[in-house]
């Protein structure tokens, strides 16, 4: 395999990792605050549709992005209402929201565009276009580093760069700010946070809100960056892979980057089964590659390779007057 092919695969890895990374960090905020969220998939899907639909109507992808984030936030608000305010079962709420997104997006898409549950394909300013970083053209002649810069680092949409910047930002917020400390505390021991006079409900809603924003960006990226328009069920299980990545990363931001890049890489090479055969000499079933993120996560969860310990108060509604 030559450098150019490798770079192509890595390039695809970056593009496919981006939605996973955003969704994974979204889940990280939520679960660190003690709110399980298996509705990442539904939030992304709702955002993907809304972003594509609004971008198609207005012709402006930025308005689409804002609309996508708003849709995702709305889903977050329902999740917060069910799991924080009414102390319902967070897992059941997530399941319901996933179905709701899967059904509503097609219903509304059909009513608005009548194209069999998809949006019109987006062009020009209605989608995020690749950005060529400075000097990418002129440096591409430099051996090895030139192509890496021009092919791999340059030429992605703005949301890809944003998602990679969210990793250090998440780390900084969680581990270097007062808000982050409180957020982590509320996921471990909400009673202690409450005793200190800080609102558990407020913190948890803030976390769920951040989760909504990040899922919104992830969804908008799917329909306006990675692809040019919304199609039915286009998240294709990415929300669950992000959830798997979150466990794989043991709820830590930098590990999340690694896990998402790994899972993105698995998705990228699944598209190029000819390459795998050329490199390792025998055929690997694509289905095995599809299942690998889940199998790896089960192994990690089982504690055979390191132990993944979730936030202690995760999944439990906080009841003040016990």
């Amino acid at each position: 395999m030559d450098l150019l092919t490798l770079l192509q695969v890595l390039d695809a890895t970056v593009r496919l990792s981006t939605p996973l990374l955003l969704a994974c960090l979204a889940g990280l905020f939520s679960e660190r605050a003690g709110i399980f969220d298996i509705g990442l998939e539904g939030k992304m899907l709702a955002a993907a549709f809304t972003a594509a639909a609004v971008a198609a109507i207005t012709g402006n992808v930025w308005i689409g992005l804002v609309a996508g984030i708003a849709a995702s936030l709305l889903f977050s608000a329902i999740h917060g209402l069910a799991s924080i305010t009414f102390r319902g079962n967070q897992l059941i709420s997530g399941v319901a929201l996933n179905f709701l997104a899967s059904g509503l997006t097609v219903l509304v898409a059909q009513a608005w565009f009548a194209q069999g549950g998809r949006t019109p394909s987006l062009q020009g300013a209605a989608r995020f276009n690749p950005i060529t970083l400075p000097f990418a053209e002129s440096l591409s002649g430099v051996p090895i580093l030139g192509p890496i810069y021009a092919e791999l680092i340059s030429g992605h949409t703005i949301l890809v760069y944003v998602s990679f910047l969210v990793v250090p930002l998440t780390w900084w917020i969680l581990f270097r700010t007062r808000f982050g400390l409180r957020l982590r505390a509320v996921g471990e021991n909400p009673a202690a946070v409450d005793t200190a006079g800080i609102s558990v409900v407020g913190l948890r809603f803030a976390a769920v809100g951040i989760c909504g924003v990040l899922c919104g960006i992830a969804g908008a990226y799917l329909s306006t960056g990675l692809q040019a328009g919304f199609v039915k069920d286009m998240t294709a299980g990415r929300g669950y892979i992000a959830l798997a990545a979150l466990i794989f990363a043991k709820w830590r931001p930098w590990y999340a980057l690694t896990a998402c890049l790994l899972f993105g890489f698995l998705q990228a090479i699944a598209l190029r089964s000819d390459l795998i055969e050329a490199v390792i000499g025998f055929r690997i079933q694509i289905q095995l590659l599809d299942a690998l993120p889940y199998i790896l996560t089960v192994i990690i969860l089982a504690g055979f390779v390191g132990k993944a310990i979730p936030p202690r108060a995760g999944g439990e509604p906080y009841v003040k007057e016990r």
Partner: protein
């Protein structure tokens, strides 16, 4: 402390949740520019208007009874088995292997073999996450989700490579041999002189589903094991103190749950398709969650909820044929039912409890006052 009578808990709350879900679904239909009343009429007629319609409604209901029971048994042990989809997929594999590779003389024997195969395959697929939960502490919800995807990938692989008949392009097994054909309602009712629609897929596995309801009822409320499962579900520490092994309860209840989900394949794989195709479960594993929540984890409630969801699925299919409303409206209704009966339970329950408390206080005042004064 009983805050309100049991009938309110069992009947009134699900009913109010259902009405809320129905009203919101009506608003959704209104918002996409269709008439909700017309839609409801079409759905009811499409699901219950003819023998043919009933044949489909009961066919779907059979699937949902199995998956609903599966979720409920796990619920009794306070576990959320979200992996019904994967377990039913594996159950389908069990049925397919059993029907294709064993020479069955008659369907009565074949169905017994298929029950064992589907239940065993489903149980094994649930047993691995259960073991991981009991012994390694991995969260059962996450592992069962992962196992859904692994099951899908596994079946996908088997259907495109090993199980596909030679020369076939389609990712599906060959047709099961004739002796494994399960009688459908038309064939079952013909000897009794009752005519039933020949084209409808409802079959003898509906009877198995009803038997499963009785079996689950007897297991949960009439056996020692059922008592242990419920005790464990109410309080793990109390159950442990009473000498009930958590590992045993987790493993057994999840195996039963997986076996029930796997047995769904009797209906959709053996009864209807008579071969194994990709994505044969069509989301029935997830509908089991809604059914179990609505049915309050009781077999009778599950039976009724499964009938309702069966009608919803058949009605939704007819609705999408007759109007421009896509079939995904069913997903929306399903989501709202899960939301209201599951996650937003307290939204309905708390105000209702207040109503009952206020009512009880005013009516019971003369009786309670003297005791309070002493």
């Amino acid at each position: 402390m009983q805050k309100m009578p049991q009938w309110a808990d069992v009947v009134l709350i699900p009913l109010i949740s259902l009405i809320l879900a129905a009203v919101l679904s009506g608003l959704v239909i209104l918002a996409i520019g269709e008439n909700p009343i017309t839609a409801l009429t079409i759905m009811i007629d499409g699901a219950m208007g003819s023998k043919y319609a009933w044949g489909y409604t009961l066919y779907y209901a059979t699937n949902f009874i199995f998956t609903g029971l599966a979720v409920s048994v796990a619920f009794h042990a306070r576990m959320f088995n979200i992996g019904g989809e994967g377990q039913a997929t594996l159950g389908g594999l069990g049925v397919a292997l059993c029907c294709l590779y064993l020479p069955w003389p008659h369907w009565t024997l074949a169905i017994l073999g298929a029950i064992v195969a589907s239940a065993a395959f489903g149980a094994i697929w649930a047993l691995i996450p259960a073991w991981l939960q009991a012994k390694r502490g991995s969260h059962i919800v996450i592992t069962t989700i992962m196992f859904n995807f692994i099951a899908a990938a596994l079946l996908n692989y088997l259907l495109v490579s090993v199980l596909k008949p030679v020369g076939s392009m389609e990712p599906a097994t060959g047709k099961f041999p004739e002796p494994t054909h399960l009688p459908n309602f038309a064939e079952m009712l013909a000897p009794l002189g009752i005519s039933f629609s020949r084209g409808a897929p409802a079959n003898v596995s509906f009877i198995i589903a009803i038997l499963a309801c009785f079996a689950v009822w007897a297991l949960i409320w009439k056996t020692r094991l059922g008592y242990e499962i419920r005790a464990f579900g109410h309080s793990e520490s109390a159950a442990k103190y009473a000498g009930i092994s958590p590992t045993k309860i987790i493993l057994i209840s999840m195996s039963i749950s997986g076996a029930l989900a796997g047995m769904m394949a009797l209906n959709n794989v053996m009864g209807e398709a008579e071969r194994l195709v990709l994505n044969a479960t069509e989301g029935a594993g997830f509908i089991g969650i809604a059914v179990a929540l609505m049915g309050r984890s009781h077999p009778l409630g599950i039976f009724l909820a499964a009938l309702l969801f069966g009608a919803l699925y058949q009605g939704g299919a007819i609705l999408s044929q007759d109007t421009s409303i896509p079939v995904q409206i069913v997903l929306v209704i399903q989501a709202l039912v899960i939301m209201f009966t599951g996650a937003l339970d307290n939204m309905v329950r708390v105000p209702l409890e207040k109503v009952f408390l206020a009512f009880n206080l005013s009516s019971a005042k003369p009786a309670t006052k003297p005791t309070a004064a002493e």
